[in-house]
């Protein structure tokens, strides 16, 4: 016990500190490599920071970030609104699930990029097409994770719900929903990651704002690679923040049991 006590804070401190140390080391190495290189293939970290500063000063930073978040939010919310209920229904009615499975398996390996021509054909050039690309990239993973979440609800919990005289609707609300929530949240987090991942592809369709647009535009209009890398850094940073927010939600009381039971399964 006493050994544990003296051991724990140190690892906690380390787990707080080491990720930043890694990041600092990367920046240092990056900077060093650029300084030592005769013909650098990449702008250095300072140039990238200056580029971000320049964007912020001209008001472009907020504009591009908001534009990207706006498209991702709509595409993702649409995918959640359709994919999650679809997955739950398909799991509830097993036959539907069996019929749907091969379609999912076929469509899933098709990259969101492949949908760009059709998106333009259907929705024209603009925001709607970008939103559609983000939607199409995240809707199937969401449906699949909702389906597997329902499939993983223990029959014991179903039966316990029925035993206490609950009507099907009450079982859905008081047993099914809370039972699938932890797994579903993991699916939601991964899908949000995918939605954010395709933002660059989605903004390649001649829109005139967003971080994806910034990257394409900076290259086309004068090879501003410092701005290209600045866009990449911003996308990565926002991705980390989105992921962290979703992980926070997963750890709310009433949901945390998902972690406890997953740990128990692993131990068994």
């Amino acid at each position: 016990m006493s050994e544990k006590r003296s051991f724990r804070p140190r690892t906690r401190l380390a787990s707080r500190f080491l990720p930043f140390a890694g990041l600092a080391a990367l920046l240092l190495l990056w900077d060093l490599a650029i300084r030592l290189s005769l013909a650098p293939l990449l702008p250095g970290p300072l140039a990238v920071f200056r580029a971000i500063g320049e964007l912020a000063q001209k008001g472009f930073l907020v504009k591009h970030v908001v534009a990207s978040l706006f498209r991702v939010t709509w595409g993702y919310l649409l995918a959640v609104a359709i994919g999650v209920p679809l997955g739950i229904l398909l799991a509830w009615y097993r036959r539907g699930g069996l019929a749907f499975a091969p379609i999912v398996e076929m469509v899933r390996p098709i990259s969101a990029l492949a949908w760009i021509p059709l998106a333009i054909l259907w929705f024209g050039v603009g925001d709607l097409s970008s939103v559609f690309i983000i939607f199409i990239a995240s809707v199937l993973p969401l449906a699949v994770s909702a389906m597997s979440a329902v499939g993983n609800v223990s029959s014991i919990h179903w039966n316990a719900g029925r035993n206490f005289g609950l009507a099907p609707r009450q079982i859905a609300r008081r047993v099914l929903l809370p039972a699938i929530l932890p797994r579903l949240l993991v699916g939601l987090r991964l899908a949000l990651g995918i939605a954010w991942l395709v933002v660059v592809a989605a903004e390649m369709i001649a829109v005139n704002s967003g971080l994806g647009f910034l990257i394409i535009d900076a290259r086309n209009a004068g090879n501003r690679y410092d701005l290209v890398v600045a866009g990449m850094v911003l996308i990565g940073t926002i991705g980390v923040v989105l992921d962290a927010v979703m992980r926070r939600i997963e750890r709310l009381p009433g949901l945390r049991w998902g972690y406890a039971s997953a740990a128990a399964e692993e131990a068994a």
Partner: protein
Amino acid sequence: MIPAAESLPGRSKLAIRGLSMTFRGELDDVRVLEDLALDVREGEFVCILGPSGCGKSTLLNIVAGFLPPTAGSVRIDGEEVRGPDPRRIFVFQERGVFPWLTVEGNIGFGLGRLSRTERERRVAHYVQLVGLKGFEKAYPHELSGGMKQRAEVARALAVDPDMLYLDEPFGALDSITRLVMRGELLRIWQTEKKTILFVTHDIEESVQLADRVVVLSARPARIRRIVEIELPHPRDLSSRRYLELRDGIFEEIGLAHRI
């Protein structure tokens, strides 16, 4: 109609007649239960004892209304069982508590129809009864196996059922906790006067708890024998009669009492 196993004093609660169960498999049908007949009196504590995989859980699931039998009937208070019913609560192994609800939330789960104050009063009462005071706000993953099991028993008792069905409820607990839990279950049974069907593969457990032990054969399960345990509670686990009854069942199942 097949006559009851014997005529019993006390009002009959549960009557099982000609009960058979066959699971349809892809290659072969699996006969699990064959022509069972059993009567249980009101307030009686009956253990159903059999080797693992003999179909005793299936029997309990049919009696509880979760599974329809292939043939035969289950009647409770003269009424055919057609589905689960809140008057008869099934207690699973410790995994039966809802992990997304606190102890309080679990115990109050079946009390949705009551007023808030009545619900709180009942939850508090059963928290106390099963010794979980101070853990009302704890989630199941923060509790030990024995505490989870207590919470589940309390959840079952809170809706004031006439019958409890327990499916190897203490199977996952360590042997000390198991003994404590048996004592508490007996105490609760004596104060709350429920009819209890208790499935177990543990011979000692059945002789410690039950008024009668129904010994099942291997699959397809038939009733081999019904052993009356006439010992008063609290039972002396080293008394001659206890050991006789226990060894009788050991022999019935065909186990040498030596290791």
